[in-house]
Amino acid sequence: MAKELTLSGCAAAAQAVKMARVDVICSYPIRPYTAAMMELAKMVNEGELDAEFIHGEGEHAQLSVVYGASAAGARVFTGSAGVGVTYAFENYSPISGGRLPVQMMIADRALDPPGDFGSEHTDAMSARDQGWIMGWAETPQEAFDNHLINYRIGEDARVMLPQFVCQDGYFVSHIPGKVKIPDQAQVDEFLPPYRPGRHVLDPKQPCSHGPQIRPDQGAIMDLQRAQAFLDLPPVIEEVIDAYNRIMGRSYSPWLEEFMTDDAEIVFFLMGAHTATARHAVRHLRERGVKAGLVKLRFVRPWPSEQVARSLAKFKAVGVIETSTSYGGSMRGGNLLAEVRASIYDAPKRPLTTSFMAGLGGDVIPLQEFYWMAGKLLAAVKAGRVEKAVYWAGLEHEDAPAAGARSDGAPVAVAVH
């Protein structure tokens, strides 16, 4: 029977993985993702889930185990966080190059040094160009749904790609929320057993995985993966359509807009901080600011056309970066570079700037969103952005202008 449970992001992920009837799981502990493996280990031990549960000797081994298991035709699951994600790095490209639909959960954690257990998207974002599908969940519910959705996308015969299913550490992984759990029959209808193609282990047709190829074949190999990503969007739209129909959800595949109908300024972001941003937008609306937000659901494939079309409606867009790209073209994070590249050829472009916020596991308080809104309103008034990157809460500011509110609400709001 369909039911509603109160689950953390980790527990929700484990429920989804169980209902996906995975064959092989490989674990190695690193918080905050570990809780998902604890749940799964318990399910296997108690006979609720019939899967091989292997404890790897490290993250590199984890990815090696699921690489092999997937090459043998199994539906597999693994996961990690922070430096665990980077320790396994060598295996990401061979898995996508081998066109094996491995699924890996990432519950973000800031990278060392020095150790900081907080959430930050830099761990996963560092691996965004390894040929894996990648996207974030805002809530435990979305995490549950994304795991199922990603299995079906990745295992589609037209796709055959691995998936990073990401959620913010702590904010999603450890804060329980209501999760609607469908019937097993609904999940089985949506996600039939994995039927691998002819490129997996078959004793009757022995094959070599990951053989040496010649340098002049390298470009062709890269082109295969690039083509797979070009062919992906319609499959993603189709799968999410099917998911919405079978489970009674209403996900839009690429972007979710909130209060954008007449919005002039919007926040553009992904993951857990979207929840706070929704509150900030509502409060800004109460104060007469035409604010809204656009939430990104997939980073890979990046929905360039949808981003250009959506953002064309607004006057100014504040991209909230929750990852770093030291010395990159934007001198801040990764998302603004992607957003600006998406809108470059568009006939109508909004002003864009970015805010480094929520790094190292910091919360982004409402006051910071109001401050960001102030910067966006100032940009609209001036007709240009002052600069491409602001470090929220850390910028030197002159004394607050008369009329500024003590709770940090933007000056421009008081002027309205």
């Binding site: 047709q205 990951g210 040496q212 190829i213 062709i220």
Partner: protein, 108 residues
Amino acid sequence: MFDIPKDRTVPFGCVTPAPLEEQPMMITGNWREYRPVIDQEKCNLCMNCVAFCPDACWQVDAADEEVVWNAKYCKGCLVCVTECSTEALSKAYELDFPDGVVRLEKPF
């Protein structure tokens, strides 16, 4: 749409049928700096070299009387020399030609 030259095509996921004999696509013998040299008098056919070679470059000959080295694929890792139980194998420097000229085949 792309035009991919026939001789550069790559199978899906780079997965190839397992070669039953030699893999003609990737000749690695020219990576070698040292080659193993066998003294057949000392060899007792213990098969360590056959078992340890990562590239299957040591094979027993048709008559089953001696092990034979495959120069085409030996990368010169010399694990066979280390594992030889009777010291029948030693290493020789590949680039030590009498005329002092280093010869390389097509590098890849």
